[in-house]
Symmetry: C2
Subunit: 257 residues, 2 copies
């Protein structure tokens, strides 16, 4: 397994792959968990080469504290990557190497990106789309794997790929959950034992309470600070989306209705 | 010479080129002149395959009248393309085929794009960068050719390519001029004989008058409506930029100082 901490080194390696080689790509912010592992496993099966990126992208954090406290588990990430059969890790430690332009060039969406998470995290999706465009150009994957846990992100990336005729197939991957129903997320590492015990109520309430307004009240009464809990059409299906805080940890989830 | 009026047809052809084939790309809005021909000639020499796009991109026009009156010389364009040894023309007639997203996804720059032409044509460079990103993804060129006449555009496209690590080499091509010094431009077709006789004063004044403020006054006194005439560092060299109207035709030019 190759580990590249600079983009030129990665590009040199990438250039020397056979032009026809199928590259599967899993972009992450590290703190890998079983959800990421399932993406990597699928990438490994479907492609000749599997590339993992680990980059905590500063431009998608609207909240400095969330950025500073984002979990970092580098040694464990390396172990998981090796075990998952990853061929190359792109892990630029210095944000300047991904943003030589100081973020002057931006890829934005002006409709769906303003809703749900976008309403509460101004600029978040511009940061996401911008970094994903950069990573796609660097890695040049045939397939890229994204978890449905971040369903709005997934939809916006699919939209970007279609809008710009990008030669990459976006593969949505089902949300992995703990037996309790809690969606796997790197941010779960930041939950206290009490919060961890309460967190599964998000998923349970999404499923069990019929009306979104009522579901929101249920979560609020349990101590969640709910940003939004709404039913929306995601283009193909009805879907229920939620974002809620437990203490200073922000959790999101969604289910197909 | 293949002519593709839809993107799927072009993509099918593109897919069947050898993966290693070097593709040279000249994106245009049609109304081809000798300036475009020189770009095509260079693309032809330096690459195995030459692709020309002809698309009057609505999103880069901030002025509806300018868009409506933009010269269209389709039959003549085909003749020039064939004569220039173009292998394929991508000419989507329907803007919706380039903007399936209704322009919801945009590539913007937030610094230099706001100055010079960007100050007087709000949104212009967002339209340019967005369409160039789309065309680059569709055509996947090794080299793309841009005229220095639109020097700010050229700089911004170079900046985009660097910011997003795009696997394409941007080739700047010297401005072609009439013997009078007038920079070749599709919009010259819209000048009356009297305006055409006056237009070379732009270039002459850029070169002959030392102070930009004085040069601006000279052009104004000759009947130009000058938007800007300024000296700027383009990152590497001192350059003098001008935009001026003759009647309802907007002309731009620039010279290295």
């Amino acid at each position: 397994m190759k580990v590249f901490e600079t983009i030129p080194a990665f590009l040199e390696w990438r250039k020397n792959l056979k032009p026809q080689a199928t590259v599967g790509f899993v972009p992450t912010m590290g703190a890998l968990h079983l959800g990421h592992q399932s993406l990597l496993a699928r990438a490994r099966v479907e492609n000749e080469i599997t590339v993992l990126s680990i980059f905590v992208n500063p431009t998608q954090f609207n909240n400095a504290q969330d950025f500073d406290t984002y979990p970092k588990t580098w040694e464990e990430d390396l172990r998981i990557a090796a075990q998952s059969g990853v061929d190359a890790i792109l892990a630029p430690h210095d944000p300047k190497s991904i943003y030589p332009d100081d973020f002057h060039y931006q890829l934005s969406e002006n409709q769906f990106s303003k809703e749900l998470c976008g309403e509460f995290r101004p600029g978040h999706f511009t940061g996401v789309l911008t970094v994903v465009l950069k990573l796609f150009q660097i890695v040049r994957p045939v397939r890229a794997y994204f978890g449905e846990k971040d369903h709005q992100q997934l939809s916006l990336i699919e939209g970007m790929v279609n809008a710009f005729f990008m030669d990459v197939k976006v593969i949505p991957c089902e949300t992995l959950r703990e037996p309790s129903g809690l969606a796997l997320s790197s941010r779960n590492l930041r939950l206290s034992p009490e919060q961890k015990a309460l967190a599964p109520k998000i998923y349970q309430t999404l499923l069990q309470v019929q009306e979104p307004e009522t579901a929101k009240e249920v979560l609020s009464s349990l101590g969640f600070k709910v940003e939004y809990l709404v039913d929306r059409n995601d283009g193909k299906k009805r879907r229920r989306y939620v974002a809620a805080w437990l203490g200073d940890v922000r959790l999101i989830d969604n289910v197909e209705l």
